[in-house]
Amino acid sequence: MSAALIELAGIERVFHLGDSEVHALRRLDVSIAAGEYVAVMGPSGSGKSTLLNLIGLLDRPNAGVYRLEGRDVTTLSAEEQARVRSERIGFVFQSFHLVPRLTAGENIALPMILAGIAPAQRAERVARALGDYGLENRADHRPDQLSGGQRQRVAIARATIMQPAVILADEPTGNLDRATGEEVMRLLEALNENGVTLIVVTHDGSLGARARRQLLMEDGALQNDQSRSNRVIPEACVLPT
């Protein structure tokens, strides 16, 4: 089990709305190995985003333990968590979340700027990323001058620029048409083929089916954890549920 990249044990997340409590996650136990491709599926409000935010260290659980690469990260300080986000985690959002006043190139460079990487190295990596994602001619365009697909490609380039261990994508095709969505999924899957762990939240069944493993959420609990039969799943992913 210690070989797992992500290990969640007994995770609870409770939101308080006035007097009522919303159990967004109930006693969740999930283990994800390095290099896996996981789709998180389930109806709206089932806790998918909450789960992803917890894995991405944007949120803290009310109970339970989260180990990332064998280290308990729930007890880290906010500063240490920020560092983990910077170095190990890449986010892709449904609404792209590009900074509107910055160009495509500058948006891609943002994680490196925040991490304090030297300008020369930044320029080199941004140039390579722009090439990888077919954005060479869009480097100086601002987000409002880009199509949805191009924006999401910028976002993916930004998510990968720090060479994270895991990419977390929350409905990355939700704002795109079918064809563009396919294209974006292929880019993410290509990353996974190169060894990056990929976790995608989607409520689109056909997109989810592309993943080798599906986590089906319902009402904050893991309803089903199934892996595509024709692939040997690492022993670590067989859950105790």
Binding site: L58, A78, A82, S86, F91, H97, L102, P111, P119
Partner: protein, 402 residues
């Protein structure tokens, strides 16, 4: 985050919202410009007055009867509180002092001057020939009182320009006989109009020999003794010698006050300096208002950029980085406003100097520095709250905002 990146990021954030940035910079600039212009006016007034005062006469030492009260209550003074009068003999005795160049006694009172049925109340100054040199007065017509025995004096008078205009109109004044009080005087000179004039306005003055003035007012006392020291360096020795001579003549009693022009100037200097300071303080209030504006605008900015802040956190920014980014932005806007305000203020002062060449409207260095420093401090201090608010935002909630 590297410092150049931080600065570039803050700059982009500022220029990304030009209207907001413009308003903030403008508010700051108005505050700083107000400090610069108002202190230029205040300090200009100070310099103007000092210039005017210097023109009254140089190296002046003034003796007045009675002990100065400015030193606070002194029990020793209280007992011997009836000062002896200053007399013409006292004045004459001062000529013995080596550091003294010239002495002019001054007796002052009001009386009526009449000629050809016209009557006017005037200030009568009884003095001697030396007065015109000691006070640096200029004659428009005729001559001044003749030198001679201070205890006598011909019935001759010199009148100020305004008295001349009112009493004689277009007619010639020189040689005319006038009645001052119950005596008749011949006009021998007319003073040039001084226009401005601090202290005694010589335009409305009638100058007669001191002996006649004292007879007119039926008194032996002098209002002042004006002493001109031999040189600027002789002012202090002259003061000491004058004090000693008077003390000996007054039976060892130090019962006069001796002020030097420098002391008068210093008093005015202090007074007007304080005024400038007060004006600067009032102007600084506009900077505080600008600071509050900075705070509100930055708070709005934080609210508008909530999603961006959430994103930055997701991309690995620490709270400190976010706080620094917003603080840097506030500081940059303040610097820009301060620099712009400084330029505007200097331009304003230059325009005032163009319009009123006699008025030396230069902002003092300390005011400029204080204005710039206050702008920066308020900008940063009032930027802290919004920056901390930004740093505290919850990333998940922030990202959910649009």
């Amino acid at each position: 985050m590297r410092t150049p990146d931080l600065i570039r990021f803050a700059r982009d954030a500022a220029t990304g919202n030009p209207l907001r940035t413009f308003l903030l910079v403008l508010a700051m600039a108005i505050g700083v410009a107000a400090v610069v212009v108002l202190t230029a006016l205040g300090d200009g007034a100070r310099r103007y007055v000092l210039n005017e005062f210097s023109s009254i006469g140089s190296n002046l030492v003034i003796v007045l009867p009675g002990r100065s009260q400015t030193g606070g209550f002194n029990p020793g003074n209280a007992i011997t509180s009836t000062p002896r009068d200053l007399t013409v003999d006292d004045a004459q005795a001062l000529l013995r002092a080596s550091a003294v160049h010239r002495v002019a006694p001054l007796a002052v009172g009001t009386s009526e001057i009449s000629v050809g049925g016209k009557l006017r109340e005037v200030m009568v100054a009884g003095t001697t020939a030396e007065f015109i040199d000691v006070r640096r007065l200029v004659l428009a017509q005729g001559r001044f009182l003749p030198a001679g025995d201070w205890r006598r004096g011909a019935s001759e008078a010199v009148i100020g320009a305004k008295v001349r205009d009112e009493m004689f109109g277009r007619q010639a004044a020189l040689g005319q006989l006038v009645r001052i009080g119950d005596r008749r005087f011949r006009i021998v000179g007319v003073l040039a109009a001084s226009g401005q004039g601090l202290g005694m306005n010589t335009d409305e003055l009638v100058i007669v020999p001191v002996a006649l003035a004292q007879a007119m007012f039926n008194s032996n006392t002098l209002f002042r003794i004006l002493v001109e020291a031999a040189s600027r360096d002789a002012i202090e020795p002259a003061k000491a010698q004058v004090a000693e001579i008077i003390r000996l003549r007054h039976e060892g009693e130090q019962d006069v006050t001796i002020i030097t022009q420098d002391a008068v100037l210093a008093t005015f200097d202090r007074l007007l300096g304080t005024m400038t300071l007060a004006v600067a303080g009032i102007a600084a209030i506009s900077l505080a208002v600008a600071g509050i504006l900075v705070m509100n605008v930055m708070l709005v900015s934080v609210a508008q950029r909530t999603a961006e802040i959430g994103l930055l956190k997701a991309l690995g920014a620490t709270s400190a980085t976010i706080r620094n980014a917003f603080l840097t932005e506030a500081a940059m806007l303040s610097v820009a406003g301060a620099v712009l305000g400084f330029l505007l203020g200097q331009a304003g002062a230059a325009i005032i100097r163009q319009l009123y060449p006699a008025y030396p409207a230069f902002p003092p260095d300390w005011a400029v520095l204080a204005g710039l420093a206050t702008a920066l401090t308020t900008g940063i201090v009032f930027g802290v709250l919004p920056a901390r608010q930004a740093a505290r935002l919850d990333p998940v909630e922030s990202l959910a905002k649009r």
